[in-house]
């Protein structure tokens, strides 16, 4: 089951939400959340998949052992490494099962594989890491830890949130109108991004990069659409997760940030899957080291680890290392040198570096990547723009403009600023802006449901 399944959105989720409102105690809400999550993960898959959740007992025990031996740092470090190895093994076997296609005993059918193993394993390790660092005490009630580990809220696209930050809400959380309202709005906007915006860019991407005719603008627009598709899927799922959390009384951080020119390529990398990037940076101590050479080395290691977390492929590793190298260069001297440049130049720099580095993720071979790079500068292409790409852009022009205002931070701030000014003008204007927001949100919700229904029946 995924968030955009109608049976989840209009079946399991409302039922779980109503059930969790029946009692105010956190224990009851946690129990409903665990049961819903188990159903969410076992839906359409063997129930045995949920046995993976028993692995959290291992993290719990290791956490307890670390906590009881705080003074013996060597032992604690060994225990931490053991937990890391355990979670990496779990992640490789269940999350990256394609690596074991040739090993019959380890290779599963795709339907058996659970969702969100990457986030699950990071959570397990993060719990022990927090105890190791002295940021949290070990959890005596394993049900609280189970709530943290199996909650479907942040299993699909994060955010990753450390146990020490979530623990107070797991023990005691209050519901109010603001949380409920913000949760619903976040849920609907996320759904709109996943169901309405992402498919638009998928179409343009396929026209531009998978068409049989290679065109120059097709290469540019296709790759930008590839990025936009990924961005809207992740941010949409993250918004939905935030919405589910708020409706259940939790407050999660966003798993993405606005792309700001001043933050350069480092900020661009951190804007996507922010909480995971922060977690890996923390584990590799990238921000705590002052020696520039050591820092650059740690950034490279961190880049390699994040890329392998996404996908265990050589192309991902190379792209991860290239991105980390540029970040290290920015930290060393480029960042300071570019500080005074105009914002437009910085945005141009971002577009070009993102295209050249992350463009590699789309290709399986260096040959294809090289061919695409040459096509970007109109080498070996006959046409500038194909009919299918042009159709894809023109037929979705309104949505592309909306997407631009969502992604491009200055434009977004400008529109939101105008909207806020309008609402502050008078009480009447305030009411007008609020009602307009409600109408727009309701429209997006209805449109998303209709689109999902059509996609499901198609």
């Amino acid at each position: 089951m995924v968030y955009s399944d109608l049976i989840f959105l209009l079946g399991l989720f409302p039922i779980a939400a109503i059930l969790s409102f029946l009692d105010r105690s956190a224990e009851y809400k946690n129990l409903i959340l665990i049961l819903t999550s188990v159903l969410f993960f076992s839906w359409g898959r063997p129930f045995a998949v949920c046995l993976i959740f028993l692995s959290c007992i291992f993290d719990w025990l290791i956490g307890m052992a670390v906590s009881k031996n705080v003074e013996r740092r060597v032992l604690c470090t060994l225990l931490l490494i053991l937990d890391a190895l355990f979670n990496i093994a779990l992640f490789l076997v269940f999350g990256h099962n394609y690596l074991f296609d040739s090993i019959k005993d380890l290779s599963f059918e795709s339907t058996v594989l659970p969702l969100g193993m990457g986030y699950y394993c990071v959570r397990g390790f993060s719990y022990v890491f927090d105890i190791y660092k002295g940021r949290a005490e070990y959890e005596r009630n394993i049900l609280c830890l189970l709530t943290y580990m199996v909650s479907f809220h942040f299993m699909m696209a994060g955010p990753h949130i450390s146990y020490s930050k979530l623990e107070p809400s797991i023990r005691n959380r209050e519901m109010d109108g603001r949380k409920l309202n913000d949760g619903f709005v976040s849920l609907v906007l996320g759904l709109g991004k996943v169901v309405i915006l992402a498919p638009v860019f998928e179409r343009i991407k396929l026209s531009g990069l998978n068409g049989h005719e290679i065109t120059t603008l097709g290469c540019w627009l296709g790759m930008m659409s590839f990025f936009a598709e990924g961005y809207f899927i992740l941010t949409g799922l993250s918004d939905m997760a935030k919405g589910f959390g708020l409706i259940n009384g939790f407050e999660y951080p966003s798993n993405y940030t606005d792309i700001e020119a001043d933050n350069l390529f480092t900020g661009l990398v951190r804007s996507f899957n922010t909480t995971i990037v922060d977690f890996f940076s923390d584990v590799f101590a990238c921000r705590r080291v002052n020696n520039p050479i050591l820092k650059a080395l740690l950034i490279l290691l961190c880049g390699a680890a994040i890329s392998m977390w996404y996908e265990a492929k050589v192309t991902f590793l190379i792209v991860g290392l290239a991105a980390a190298l540029l970040i290290a260069i920015e930290k060393l001297f480029l960042g300071k040198a570019m500080l005074k440049l105009p914002a437009a130049v910085k945005y141009l720099y971002l577009v070009i570096t993102a295209m050249v580095i992350f463009g590699g993720l789309y290709f399986d071979s260096l040959y294809g990547y090289k061919k695409w790079l040459l096509a970007l500068v109109n080498v070996n292409t006959k046409y500038m723009l194909s009919v299918s790409v042009k159709d894809g852009v023109m037929k979705n022009l309104t949505l592309i403009i909306i997407a631009f205002f969502i992604v491009f931070a200055p434009a977004k701030k400008f529109v939101l600023g105008l909207w806020k000014d309008l609402s502050r003008r008078s009480r009447r204007f305030y009411g007008f802006t609020k009602i307009t927001q409600t109408v727009l949100t309701a429209f997006i919700f209805v449109l998303s449901i209709i689109t999902l229904a059509v996609q499901t029946t198609a």
Partner: protein, 257 residues
């Protein structure tokens, strides 16, 4: 004598000043009013979204619910633990969504606001026939390029669009020995499944040499509704200037009765 009936303790206006409103109290009152207004619109928002959610849930469940628990799908531990029960539930839920045709029609109507050129029941809105999700143009090796003849004057290109809107590009190439090789290099036909036949004819002939061609082949092939095919030129005529934009497919006129 004083008129005691109209006696007023306030002899002059402003003599007894009413105490000024405390600024903090005023601020608190403003904040309370603001909070109440926010809560009011928040309530409207929650109510609207909840009603939509409940309405859609009930609608989808009641319509799909008739077949959702069919006889073959019995809930027991074995079917549940294997995932068959839930898989079957999902299948029957998804296959019996309410008003599929009307939903599709509504979605198409709504998609008119997505951009310019959308049409109801527009086949192009689907993933383009020219694209293939599994195909990556860049990772495929190039088709072997035939040896290009740098002597441009010897290349003759003929482009003919027939009644069906099919564009046939024919190239006649004369080699150094004077031998003429004819290659039908591309068939490019705009795909429109609504079109059965066409009557208009557009013919474009382009010669890129300065001397009259010794041999020109112009052929028109009756092609029976093929799917869209990408133009692939196997011989490159150096003197042909690439156009800035790929030419729009020639859309044939409506058939004459």
């Amino acid at each position: 004598m004083k008129d005691f009936k109209n006696f007023s303790i306030v002899e002059e206006e402003g003599e007894y000043e009413a105490p000024k409103e405390c600024e903090l109290a005023e601020l608190a009152s403003q904040k309370l009013e603001k909070d109440n207004t926010e809560a009011h619109y928040r309530f409207i928002n929650i109510l609207t979204l909840t009603l939509i959610l409940i309405f859609a849930s009930i609608l989808f469940l009641t319509v799909s619910g008739s077949d959702i628990v069919d006889n073959n799908n019995v809930l027991n531990w074995k079917s549940f633990s294997s995932g068959d029960y839930t898989r079957s539930l999902k299948r029957s839920y998804d296959s019996d969504l309410p008003f599929p045709e009307e939903m599709k029609m509504l979605e198409e109507r709504l998609s008119l606001i997505y951009g310019i050129g959308n049409k109801v029941s527009d086949p192009v809105k689907e993933i383009d026939e020219f694209t293939d999700t599994q195909h990556n143009s860049f990772d495929q090796p190039d088709e072997p390029e035939p040896e290009t003849n740098n002597n441009d004057e010897k290349v003759v290109t003929s482009v003919v669009t027939d009644e069906m809107g099919i564009t046939v590009t024919t190239e006649a190439e004369k080699d150094d020995d004077g031998k003429v090789t004819t290659t039908t290099t591309a068939i490019d036909r705009p795909y429109d499944e609504d079109e059965d036949s066409t009557t208009s004819t557009t013919t474009t002939a382009t010669t890129t040499n300065t001397d009259p061609p010794e041999f020109t082949v112009t052929e028109t092939y009756p092609v029976e509704q093929p799917g869209p095919t990408t133009t692939t030129t196997t011989t490159t005529a150096e003197t042909t200037t690439p156009t800035e934009t790929e030419p729009e497919p020639v859309i044939p006129d409506e058939p004459e009765e």
